[in-house]
Amino acid sequence: MTVGAGPQAVIPPKPVRPPSGLAVAGISLRAWRRFWLVLGIVVALTLPLFAGSFTTFQLTQAAIYAIAILGLNLLTGFNGQFSLGHSAFYAIGAYTAAIMMDQWEIAYYWTLPAAGLICLVVGFLFGLPALRLEGLYLALATFALAVATPQILKFSPLEEWTGGVQGIFILKPDAPPGLPLDQDQWLYYFTLAVTAVLFVCARSLVRSRTGRAIMAIRDNPIAARSMGINTALYKSLTFGVSALYTGVAGALGAIVVQFVAPDSFTFLLAVTFLVGLVIGGVGSIPGSLAGGLFVLFLPNLAEQISKGLAWGVYGVILILLIYVMPSGAAGLVRLVTMRLAKPSG
C-alpha cells in the first residue's frame, strides 16, 4: 500500500489553454491577447506621468513581488516542487545588493546579476538534497530555511557584513543624467524593464523543450524519467532558476525600499509569496503579475475595512477570493474566456 503525499497531491492539474480558432465578439482570441498586451504596455509606460510618486512607488513594489512570485511559480507551478522558503532567496538577493552598494559602493545595476547568480548557485545547491523530499516533507525543509533566515542574518559574527539587527541603509540611485525623471520614476521604469525581460525569458523557457521537460516532471515523474529526462538535473536547475528570479526581486526590493533588516524577511514573506502565487494563478505567467498586485494592495484594502481586525479581514478576503476564483485570477480569466468564446469563421 503506498501512502503519503506525492507531487500529485500538492500541485494543481495542468491549466487548459483555450483551443485556438475561437473568438469572442467576432475578434479572435489571438487578437484579443495582443490588444490586452499593447494596452497593458501603454498603461504601464504612461502611468508614472499621471500618478503621484507614491503610487509609482507602490506599483514598483508590486512589480518586484510579481517577479518573486514568478520565481516561485516556476518551481511550484511548473515543476511541482512545493516551496515555503522563497523568502530566504529574496533575503539573499536583498542583502547581496545592500552589501555591494553599501560596503563596496558598486552601482545598483550590477547588484541584480550578482544577486541572481548567487541565488542560482544557492538554489541549485539547495535543490540537490531536496530531490529526496516530496510534498509535505519538502514543504517542511523549505519552511525551515525560511524560519532560519532571520536568525542567521542576526548572527553576531556576521554583523560586520549584515549590519545585524540594525540593518543596512542604501542610497537611492538617480536617473541617468539627461532623462527628466525623478528617482521614483526612474526606478519604476528600471524595474519595469527588468520585469519585462524576466517575464519574456520565463515564457520562452516554459515553451521550450526544457520547459516541457520541467512540466513533464511535474505531471508524471516516472514517465518523464522513462522518456530519458534527467529529472534530478532538471529539478535542481529549476530550483536554481526559481531562486534566481526571487533573488533578483530581492535585490530590486532592497534598492527601492533603501533598507534591509532581518525583520523584513520572516517566514511570513514566504507565505505572502505563496498566497500571491495561488491568487494570481498557479502555472500561469501573467497570473504572477496579478499575484504581485494582489499581495501589495490586499492588506491595504483589509485595513480600510477594519483596523482592529485588519489581519482577520485579510483572511476573510483570501477565503472569498478562493471561492470566487479557485484557480486564481488566471483561472477565472480562462473560465470567462471559455464561456464567452465561440468558434470563429
Partner: protein, 406 residues
C-alpha cells in the same frame, strides 16, 4: 482598435490624475488647515506584533478626547494611522502614503526600531518631523545628523546603565547571567549594561542566553543560565517570556538578584501570571505608573487616565501598560501642538518639540519631567528604581538621570 486604445489611455490618465491630486492646504503649513491638523502614524495592527497596535488605538482615542474638548487652538486633530504589520518595507510604503498622499503635518509615534529605521532618512530628507518614535533605541537622539527625528521614552541603553551602576555600588563582585530577546531591543539593553560596567563587564558577566520570539518557552535558556553559577539575573524579555523566566527561576530553586527590564515589570500583566511570590524581591526601573499597581489607585493622575479609558477607549485593556504609554505620548504631542500656537509649520512644530521644559504629566512618576533642547533629543531620561514587595513596587533611591555617552 487604435482609437479604443487611445481612448482608454486617456480615460485612465484622467482618472489617475483625479484620484491622485492632493487636497489643498496652506503652502507653508502642510497638513494643516484652518480647522484641522493631520497627524500620521504607523503601527502593527496585523501579524505577530499586533499586540503593540493597542498603542495606536489609545492615541486615536486620546485625540478624540482632545477634539471633543475643543481641539487645539481651534483646530481638530485628524489622526491617520496605517498598519505596517511590523514589516519595514510596508512601513516605507505607508509612511510615503502619509507624507505624499495624505500630506500629513508630522509623523508621530511610529512603532518599532527596524520600522522607524527604514523611514529615518526619508523623513529627514523630506523635512517631515518624525516625532516621539515608539522605540527605546538610542539612535533617535541625534539632532546633528537627523534634526527631524526625536525619541520619547527612556532609551534601553541608559536603563541598562542604571542597572550597571546599581550593581557596581551594591554588589561589585556579582556574577551576572543575562537572558535577552535576540533583536535590537534585547541587544540594546545588554549593550547598556556592558557599557555601564565598563572594564569589569567581561569579568562580571558569566553567561548570556538569547531567545527568538518564535521560541515557545525560555526554559532551556534559564537552565543554562542557572548552571553558570551566577547570582544576578538580568531579565531582558518581553512580558510573556519574562513571566516564563520568573516562574522557571523559582521552579529551579534559583534565588539570584533579579533585575527586570522596564518593558515587562507590570504587576498585573507579568508578575501575577508569573506568581507574586516568585516575583518578590525583583528590582526594576520606572518612569511611569503602572495601572495595575494598587499604590496609585487614589492618585489624581491615575484617576484621570482611568476616566479617559472608560469614556474613550472602553474596549481597551486596562491591564496593559501600552495604554498608559500611548496616553502619555499623545499628551506630549498635544502639549507641543499647543505650544506651537498658530504657527503649525513643520519647522515650528519641530522647534517646539525640541524646546519642552519641565513638562509633568499625570501618569509619569512624581518628579519625572519631560525636557528637550536643541541638542537634547531625549525627552524622558529619568527613571526611578523600585523593588517588588509581593503586592506593589516600592520605589527607592532618587530619581536617576540616564546619561548618554558617559
Amino acid at each position: 482598435m487604435k482609437m479604443t486604445i487611445l481612448a482608454m489611455s486617456l480615460l485612465s490618465a484622467a482618472l489617475a490624475g483625479a484620484a491622485f491630486a492632493g487636497p489643498a492646504a496652506a503652502a507653508d503649513m502642510p497638513g494643516v488647515t484652518d480647522t484641522t491638523i493631520k497627524i500620521g502614524n504607523t503601527n502593527p495592527y496585523s501579524g505577530p506584533a499586533s499586540a503593540y497596535g493597542t498603542i495606536g488605538k489609545t492615541i486615536d482615542a486620546y485625540f478624540r478626547k482632545v477634539n471633543a474638548e475643543g481641539g487645539i487652538n481651534g483646530r481638530t486633530i485628524e489622526f491617520i494611522s496605517y498598519d505596517d504589520g511590523y514589516s519595514p518595507p510596508k512601513t516605507v510604503e505607508q509612511t510615503r502614503k502619509l507624507v505624499e498622499s495624505d500630506n500629513v503635518a508630522v509623523v508621530f509615534q511610529g512603532l518599532g526600531t527596524p520600522t522607524n529605521s527604514a523611514v529615518h532618512k526619508y523623513l529627514n530628507s523630506k523635512k517631515v518631523p518624525q516625532l516621539f518614535v515608539a522605540t527605546g533605541a538610542t539612535k533617535w537622539g541625534d539632532p546633528e545628523n537627523y534634526p527631524w527625528t526625536i525619541g520619547w521614552q527612556p532609551n534601553y541603553q541608559s536603563e541598562g546603565r542604571i542597572y550597571a551602576k546599581y550593581l557596581l555600588e551594591e554588589k561589585p563582585d556579582a556574577k551576572i547571567a543575562i537572558l535577552y530577546q535576540n533583536d535590537d531591543y534585547g541587544k540594546d539593553y545588554v549593550q547598556g549594561l556592558k557599557d555601564g560596567l565598563g572594564d569589569k563587564a567581561s569579568s562580571m558577566i558569566v553567561a548570556e542566553e538569547s531567545y527568538e520570539t518564535s521560541d515557545p518557552t525560555v526554559d532551556s535558556q534559564v537552565i543554562n543560565l542557572k548552571s553558570s553559577g551566577a547570582d544576578v539575573f538580568f531579565n531582558v524579555a518581553t512580558p510573556k517570556f519574562a513571566a516564563q523566566a520568573i516562574r522557571k527561576v523559582a521552579e529551579l530553586g534559583w534565588e539570584p538578584l533579579h533585575l527586570l527590564n522596564n518593558v515587562s515589570n507590570s504587576p498585573g500583566a507579568v508578575l501575577e501570571p508569573a506568581g507574586l511570590e516568585n516575583s518578590t524581591g525583583i528590582i526594576s526601573a520606572f518612569y511611569h505608573m503602572d495601572p495595575t499597581d494598587s499604590q496609585w489607585a487614589d492618585h489624581p493622575g491615575y484617576k484621570e487616565w482611568l476616566a479617559f479609558m472608560d469614556e474613550y477607549y472602553p474596549d481597551g485593556d486596562k491591564k496593559s501598560t501600552f495604554t498608559v504609554f500611548g496616553y502619555l505620548a499623545a499628551q506630549t504631542m498635544e502639549h507641543v501642538l499647543r505650544q506651537a500656537g498658530d504657527d503649525l509649520s513643520r519647522e515650528n512644530i519641530m522647534k517646539q518639540a525640541a524646546s519642552i521644559q519641565d513638562l509633568e504629566l499625570g501618569m509619569l512618576l512624581p518628579g519625572i519631567k519631560i525636557n528637550t533642547g536643541p541638542s537634547d533629543y531625549f525627552p524622558i531620561e529619568q527613571m526611578q528604581m523600585a523593588r517588588f514587595n509581593g503586592t506593589n513596587w516600592e520605589l527607592f533611591g532618587e530619581i536617576i538621570s540616564g546619561e548618554i555617552g558617559s
